[in-house]
Subunit: 296 residues, 2 copies
Amino acid sequence: MEFKQYLSQQCAVVEQALTRYMLPEEGPLATHIKAMRYSLFAGGKRIRPILALAAAEALHADTQHLFPVACALECIHTYSLIHDDLPAMDDDDLRRGKPTCHVVFGEAEAILAGDGLLSFAFELLSHPDALQGISPEAQLRLINLIAKAIGPVGMVGGQSLDLAAEGQAISFEHLRLIHGYKTGALITASVQAGAIFGQGDEEQFAALSRYGVQIGLAFQIVDDLLDVEGTTEDLGKTAGADAQRNKATYPAFFGVAKTKVMAREAVDKAIAALENFDAKAEPLRDLARYIYERNK
Amino acid sequence: MEFKQYLSQQCAVVEQALTRYMLPEEGPLATHIKAMRYSLFAGGKRIRPILALAAAEALHADTQHLFPVACALECIHTYSLIHDDLPAMDDDDLRRGKPTCHVVFGEAEAILAGDGLLSFAFELLSHPDALQGISPEAQLRLINLIAKAIGPVGMVGGQSLDLAAEGQAISFEHLRLIHGYKTGALITASVQAGAIFGQGDEEQFAALSRYGVQIGLAFQIVDDLLDVEGTTEDLGKTAGADAQRNKATYPAFFGVAKTKVMAREAVDKAIAALENFDAKAEPLRDLARYIYERNK
């Protein structure tokens, strides 16, 4: 109950920051900005910004100046959803219970809305405001880390592998690789961004990275489970879409029962990675449990 | 003659740097990387990197550590071409005399190749190598400037306006706005990136910015002219495409003769902006003239 409150409070704070940083829908660029805002304010759970904030809090940091970074992570996540949903990609009409960006604004504008959000994310990441919390060297390290995580050997590469694997018989190792790049990399980078901002030492950074890798894994396993067990109404996106597309998933490899055990194990490992952190890391631990609870 | 040599020499140097920085086509991500490399090494003239290098040289800087930035500018330019050519956008099959990325790799992979190049550009921009030439503060300023130039109130916004204007009667002011965002912003930012790297003072930065704005303008005017006067063979892309799409262009507003005068004026203003620079700025002056000469 208390954690639910934390979540909705953090979600509201991120929402406010996004509203503050995002361009207003006015002037000649109004349509373009409207398309970006449509997807950005479509009821996302803001997990990645919340993870970054919680990781910084776990290191006793004042997160006030982390918001440009937190918002950038959400812009990047939103861009990836817009592009993934495109007709040429997963061709999804529904996202978070709403028509997808290309359904509302057309394919061309949806591609550009994604491109705009990605560029805007780097504008936020290099924002002078973020300088007040950390050194410029640390800010550059953070930008480099995020850029790597979402690039060719990261999120975008993962989506490419995912598309290529559709309808193919792939090994479990290959599925892990796809998940790691496509979903895991940005989640891990979000935690690491908070860790850099929180100015942890190398050991703390490594522990938070291990946490990030494990919850990234848990997140994807649970996503696979939800696609099997959830309804379209619950999910806000088309249920059973993976099976329909003949996609390799954890449940397809191991069945539902064993997949749940694997999700639980990843969550346990994530929490174990935080053993040397004090009570300030409790939100991170709760977030790991929350990811698992999503499938209930 | 001498300048032609300078151009081809700089082009070769940029090409080498791109080869050095770009990921190799191997491992599970080979297809994705192949698609990026296909468009990146499709015979581009490398104008933006060369502009950045020339602007830094005009300030007597050692450009050795500017290459990650120069390559990032080319990655950004290439991403924008790949996305502009997509069926949902300009639907072009030919670019630099070769089939476009989506024709060869399919639409999904072309979208991802663009996304990958854009992310990779920011990986390069935040590259520790680039630190050796300038302070981390200056590097952050450079990243912020480029991100702004290519984002919603920049290149991507310009493409959105351009698509919305197709077949519409628009004012000349609106055409200028579109050009400024779509083409001008990245060209200006390329010059400014060189200026930041060259550690010019505010006055020098302002002068180089004025130069950048004017050659950005000249570049687009000449592009409009080439579309009217060039052949598909000359251009390496479909000639007459603008007129076919009923696009607003400088020649459509003013006729070919007056448009040529306007291009010349922009080049003259660009050169005039460099009046306080010495012989080290000669390549920048030559580049301005070269842009004009393209239409001969």
